[in-house]
């Protein structure tokens, strides 16, 4: 504690460090004092023999050593704790720096996106023409006639178009005798008239 005060007065350590170490040392010393008191009380309970004087001395020496060890331990631990605190505080700083960096990056990206027009400029003066129509003028070149069935449209699925020819597409059928061969009816032979030997009599009758 004296060294600590001396260091503080000479300006080797900061006020915050001094206060922190002072507090730590005081608490540790209070603990050591308490352990001394406990030990004292324990030693009073036992009768002191002359034979054990040397051993008491040894115990006193060992107690001092233990106290010293305790102090060293606390001092060392205090240093370790300090290092840990420094590490923790550094981690916190890094986290805050990372968060600030992320926020700044996002803000920068958003503002960059907002204030820059990445869309292709609408070419208002570009002349574009289209020749697609829902009512194109097409010439029929399909030999197979297609007939729309209105009932099939209502089914909202692909419609089967009938291949039956209607009255409007008769002309197409005529030109496509090869693709849709229709069996021609077998001609029935007409009965030839049997010649009668006497035609005059027949006409007369």
């Amino acid at each position: 504690m004296k060294e600590l005060e001396k260091d503080y007065q000479e300006g080797h350590i900061s006020k915050e460090k001094y206060q922190y170490l002072h507090k730590e040392y005081q608490s540790r010393l209070a603990t050591i004092n308490a352990t001394d008191k406990v030990r004292t009380m324990q030693s009073r309970k036992k009768p002191i023999n002359s034979k054990t004087k040397t051993s008491h001395r040894n115990m006193a020496d060992s107690s001092k050593i233990k106290d010293k060890d305790l102090v060293d331990k606390y001092v060392v631990n205090a240093g370790k704790n300090q290092k840990q605190d420094i590490n923790i505080s550094n981690k916190g700083k890094y986290a805050i720096i990372a968060v600030v960096f992320l926020i700044m990056a996002f803000m920068g990206g958003i503002s960059f996106g907002l204030f820059n027009d990445f869309q292709a400029t609408s070419p208002a003066n570009v002349v574009v023409t289209i020749n697609d129509s829902a009512f194109p003028e097409v010439e029929s070149n399909v030999t197979k006639n297609v007939n729309m069935n209105s009932s099939s449209i209502d089914n909202s699925t692909n419609t089967d178009r009938n291949s039956d020819s209607d009255s409007n597409s008769d002309s197409n059928d005529d030109s496509d005798s090869n693709s849709n061969p229709t069996p021609s009816p077998t001609p029935t032979p007409s009965p030839s008239p049997t010649p009668s030997p006497d035609t005059d009599s027949a006409t007369n009758t």
């Binding site: 505080s89 981690k91 609408s122 697609d132 129509s133 449209i153 419609t159």
Partner: protein, 181 residues
């Protein structure tokens, strides 16, 4: 110790904020950027900001927009476009629809992909999806037929077949914003 805990809390808050910002950016990328509004000839649509109003060669066209980046090199024809056409109904919607596509699919360049009923708001509509081979290039079309009064409005969405799926987002955006005023 308190500083350490404070740093932990701040770090946690920063991570949460980062997740929120990133999720916000992700969800924003799904939306249509800077949509434009166009009201013309009794209809109103919204379209992506990087698209332009297009000139349609169709006589029935009342409004058309296109992606200027999809023009064919050496020409001003846009391959990705939306053309809205209006025609007077000469008969019922179904009859007109059937007549149109019967004629269309009589040409082998046109292939039916799908068709069916749909709806736009409280209006029933017909939908036909087909592809057409134009000089080796396959275009895909989606036509939405909507009847209003004595007229039929046909919204024709067009894109090269390979890009149609990726353009669906824009097409749906335009379709959802379509209003007859």
């Amino acid at each position: 110790m308190k500083k350490y805990l404070l740093g932990k809390y701040l770090l946690g808050i920063a991570i949460i904020m980062a997740v929120i910002f990133v999720s916000g950016c992700v969800s924003n990328s799904e939306n249509i950027d800077d949509p434009q509004t166009l009201a013309q000839n009794g209809v109103l649509i919204k379209y992506p900001g990087n698209w332009v109003v297009a000139n349609s060669l169709s006589n029935d066209s009342i409004i058309s927009v296109a992606d200027p980046n999809s023009t064919v090199p050496g020409s001003d024809f846009a391959q990705i476009n939306v053309n809205i056409e209006k025609r007077q109904l000469s008969s019922s919607l179904n009859t007109m629809y059937n007549k149109t596509y019967t004629q269309l699919f009589s040409n082998s360049d046109y292939t039916l992909l799908a068709e069916g009923n749909t709806s736009k708001g409280d209006m029933n509509a017909l939908e036909c999806m087909y592809s057409v081979n134009e000089n080796g290039t396959i275009k895909q079309h989606k036509a939405i037929w909507i009847e209003k009064g004595n007229y039929v409005y046909v919204l024709l969405f067009t894109a090269p077949q390979s890009e149609f799926e990726s353009q669906n987002k824009n097409f749906e955006f335009i379709l959802n914003s379509f209003k007859i005023t």
